[in-house]
Amino acid sequence: MDSPFNYLQTFGPAAEPLAKLGWGLIAISLLVTVIIAVLLLMAIFKRRQTARPDAQGRIPASREPGGMRWIYIGVGISTVVLFASAAWTVSTIADVAPPAHAPRLTIDVTARQWWWEVKYQSDEPALVFTTANEIHIPAGEPVRINLAGGDVIHSFWVPQLAGKMDVIPGQNNSTWVQADKTGDYFGQCGEYCGAQHAHMEFHVIAQTPEEFVAWRRQQAAPAGAPQDQALQQGQEVFLTRCSVCHKVRGTLAGGNLGPDLTHVASRGTIAAGLLVNNTANDSAWVNDAQALKPGSGMPSLHLPPQDLTDVVNYLGSLK
């Protein structure tokens, strides 16, 4: 079955040994279940000499010998299988603990109720920047993810690339991912974190190394100035109504309570994966976010129609 969260189908070396182990355990489990079911049915329905009830209609109890053999053989076989599985488990832990070679790229991810802040680290200060909910990585190489908790506990999970790692306030956890093929890999918060735990999706976009370098340069750059009068209007609205929480680099908008929107138009989705990023959805979101994601930090702004159109067009220009 096709699901972007199906972790039995994996695309990288941090997830593949897990899937292999998983398939093995599923096979063992199914086999055990079938064997036990068959034994149970045979035990219930096997042909027996009909017991003669006594004068009061009771079937006398009796003890047929040989029961202990069941326990010896059954438990004996189970123990061997269990210890083999335990050995496989321990060796898989060792396999995926560190990547095959040290990651060259490190990304800091901060989990917040209910979105993901993504910060790219670099030795070049010009390449350090912050974005949200969409993590781009170069395909074919390991990437280190440092996890920081912004509020409550969350869990970083990209099923087809790696298992979960909890994001715990005050604790520096890290994990790594590697995508062998380019593509869009779905991620989701894996630990219950409050009202909108259901809508805390993110995406890991694996690109060719060249595309990735280009993307990174483009994202690191500040936003361009508005190109026409209408966008100018939109920026005005943004600065008055949105800038307390949101940042657009290159403008006066410097809030850091919500996602950095410098290049929001380049992202595939908004509101942590809730909506496809297009004019209609952006407009609905800005106007009445609480109806779409009740409890989220984004208020329902209910802007005058012209302001709404302008600000949404402005957001659409932040490529």
Binding site: M1, S3, P4, F5, N6, L8, P17, L18, L21, G22, L25, I28, S29, V32, T33, I36, L40, A43, I44, A51, A61, S62, R63, E64, G67, M68, R69, W70, I73, G74, V75, S78, L82, S85, A86, W88, T89, V90, I93, V96, A97, D151, V152, I153, S155, G163, K164, D166, I168, G170, Q171, N173, Q188, E191, Y192, A195, Q196, A198, P294, G295
Partner: protein, 654 residues
């Protein structure tokens, strides 16, 4: 201090003597009416109260489950708001795990133990009544959060910092925290009572290796609880202090640790999981052989594996925390321990199958529930084994796979044996048989509904659906599976409804059962159905593991005597025996009915409420009340002095 004891010579009496019964009835009967209802300490009444109350909580938790299933039947539903959904799933968990799963088993144990052990009541009858009332009030206390406008919404696991005041300012968490401290008192005193009862009030001759397995199960669970419950009571107290008095136990900004909560919670939580299944496994180990017309295969390994499970169960709590970033060495240790704990379970499974194989099954409804339980046990077991494998658990954890697993465990290993156990012991409790035909409908609907609801959840989980999300988008491959689960949930609910219906109808129209309708082997079936308030007219003597089957199984031992023995009737009395061999030792004076347990429970609840609303007056007054009540309760009474040594007539000659 042997001098302080005086020896009493006990004449051997006959069960058949009507004078004895009449005299005992006067001593032990609780008067009818409100006064008797509020003061009774009869373990049978308390046991039935536990069963009825916990079942009411089960139905309530079931309604919460159905509300969730309606919400999740299709993608993007808006039946419940996110906040409502989160409260409902939280209360569903709290209700089922705390207010249903252990109390229902305590109900069986309270009702059955003295009957199984050949005694007249639990070792501490007033403590028993107290444990029930506190349980009831703790449940009502937690549910009262809804009346205050907000239920806890943090999951039963209640992780900090989401439950800290910063992120969860409402009083729901405080209701939960204080209610759990109250509930912990109930569990603790109940456990102490079971342990002392098991070791000191067995019939003469009932050595430890003749105990029914349900007693092994509850005894093990009780010892486990004594070690496990303090961790969670303490954790909830610390959390409450963090919330109310700004202490920093779990607050990383003040040097505390959010992970400390998880350790404390699961150090309790995992042994608790075994506490709520081991007695139920005991129900099957004792009930199934009756319907297979043979003794349980492997009594000794099954009893020992019960104890072993709890022992290892204290070393696996970290398997709830595999994704918290612990070092690989500890992950390996706890992963392997979690796999190894399957071995004692395998012992029980093969013992049950061999018992059926080598027996002559009688297809009663109780048998159907017990036999199907074996399959559900194995499915819940292998899915648990999969989550024990650390790296794969990094994927499985917090997905619907775990939801499937825990429901196979908790419904399969708790609810199925419980319903089977009711079909088995209902005749003993009420004197009436349950309807077998309606029972079959009941069985098949619950069995099919259960599997239809929960088996697909394994696949939903493998397709990555996270737990505890109030809605999900279409197109992730989860839609059909969720719809099937919802249908299964309603079928299962219908099956449970038939069970309730069967109880109601059978109470009115059920056939008379007689003392031993199943021709079963243990002592409770030797007395009338329902048993008299004093259980046994004379103290029985036990000479084998299956006292009522000695004519069938002479090789198991013989010489149990039930129809004659010492009559203990100078006030409420029961025989105390030695801990290991069950040799007669002392005559326990048993307390009479009393208001103290109820009043004490009410005062403790008032104390918690005072703490909740920050009322110094109410807290101080109820605390004083608690102390006064305790003094009144424990005030020495000469008629309860435990100084009468037992002396059998035939050896006593001074």
């Amino acid at each position: 201090m042997a001098d302080t004891h005086f020896y009493r010579t006990l004449a051997i009496s006959e069960v058949s003597d009507p004078d004895n019964a009449e005299h005992l009835q006067k001593l032990w009967e609780t008067p009818s009416g409100l006064h008797g209802w509020l003061t009774t300490v009869d373990h049978k009444t308390i046991g039935i109260r536990y069963l009825v109350t916990s079942f009411a909580f089960l139905l309530l938790g079931g309604l919460e489950a159905l509300a969730m299933r309606v919400q999740l039947a299709h993608a993007d539903q808006h039946v419940l708001t996110p906040e409502q959904y989160n409260q409902v799933f939280t209360m569903h968990g709290i209700t089922m795990i705390f207010l249903y799963a252990l109390p229902v088993l305590s109900g069986f144990s309270n009702y059955l133990w003295p009957l199984l052990l050949g005694s007249r009541d639990m070792a501490f009858p007033r403590l028993n009544a107290f444990s029930y009332w506190v349980y009831l009030f703790s449940g009502l206390f937690i549910y009262a959060s809804f009346l205050a406008g907000n239920g806890p919404d943090s999951g039963w696991f209640n992780y900090v910092p989401y439950t800290s005041r910063d992120y969860n300012p409402g009083s729901g968490i405080d209701f939960y925290a204080l209610g759990m401290i109250l509930f912990g008192i109930s569990t603790t005193v109940g456990s102490i009572n079971f342990i002392v009862t098991a070791f000191r009030t067995r019939a003469p001759g009932m050595s430890l290796n003749r105990l029914p397995i349900i007693i092994w199960g509850t005894l093990t669970a009780s010892v486990g609880n004594l070690f496990a419950v303090p961790a969670v009571s303490l954790a909830f107290l610390m959390l409450w202090m963090d919330r109310q008095f700004a202490t920093h136990f779990f607050d990383q900004s003040g040097g505390g640790s959010p992970l400390l909560w998880q350790h404390l919670f699961w150090m309790f939580g995992h042994p608790w999981v075994y506490a709520i299944v081991l007695p139920a496994m005991g129900i099957v180990s004792d009930g199934l052989p009756v319907f297979c017309r043979r003794p349980l295969v492997g009594y000794t390994p099954v009893a020992l594996s019960t104890v072993a499970t709890m022992f290892i169960g204290f070393g696996v709590w970290v398997h709830h925390m595999f994704a918290t970033g612990l070092p690989t060495l500890s992950l390996s240790f706890f992963g392997v321990a979690s796999i190894v704990i399957t071995i004692p379970s395998a012992v029980a499974v093969f013992a049950w199958i061999a018992t059926i194989w080598l027996g002559r099954p009688v297809f009663t409804v109780a048998f159907l529930f017990f036999a199907s339980f074996v399959l559900l046990f194995v499915i819940g077991g292998v899915s648990g084994f999969m989550t024990a494998a650390v790296p794969f658990d990094w994927q499985l954890t917090d997905t619907y796979f775990v939801v499937a697993h825990l429901h196979y465990v908790l419904l399969g290993i708790n609810v199925f044996p419980v319903i089977g156990g009711i079909y088995f012991w209902f005749p003993k409790m009420t004197g009436k048989l349950m309807d077998e035909r309606l029972g079959r409908w009941n069985f098949w609907l619950t069995f099919i509904g259960f599997n239809l609801a929960f088996f697909p959840m394994h696949i939903t989980g493998l397709l990555g659906m996270p737990r505890r999300i109030y809605t999900y988008p279409s197109g992730y491959g989860w839609d059909t599976l969720n719809f099937v689960t919802t249908i299964g949930a309603f079928l299962f609910a219908l099956g449970v409804l038939l069970f309730v219906l069967n109880i109601v109808l059978s109470l009115r129209h059920g056939k008379q059962a007689g003392p031993n309708p199943w021709d079963a082997s243990s002592l409770e079936w030797a007395v009338s159905s329902p048993p008299p308030p004093y259980n046994f007219t004379v103290v029985p003597k036990v000479a084998s593991r299956y006292p009522l089957w000695e004519s069938y199984l002479p090789e198991e031992g013989s010489g149990s005597v039930i129809d004659q023995g010492p009559l203990l009737a100078q006030g409420r009395e029961t025989l105390g025996t030695t801990a290991l061999d069950g040799e007669p030792d002392i005559i326990f004076k048993m307390p009479s009915d009393s208001f103290a347990p109820l009043i004490m429970s009410l005062l403790l609840t008032a104390l918690c409420y005072g703490a909740l609303i920050h009322s110094g007056w109410l807290s101080a007054l109820s605390l004083l009340g608690v102390l006064a009540c305790l003094a009144a309760w424990l005030w020495p009474q000469p008629e309860l002095a435990q100084s009468v040594k037992y002396q059998a007539k035939d050896v006593h000659d001074d």
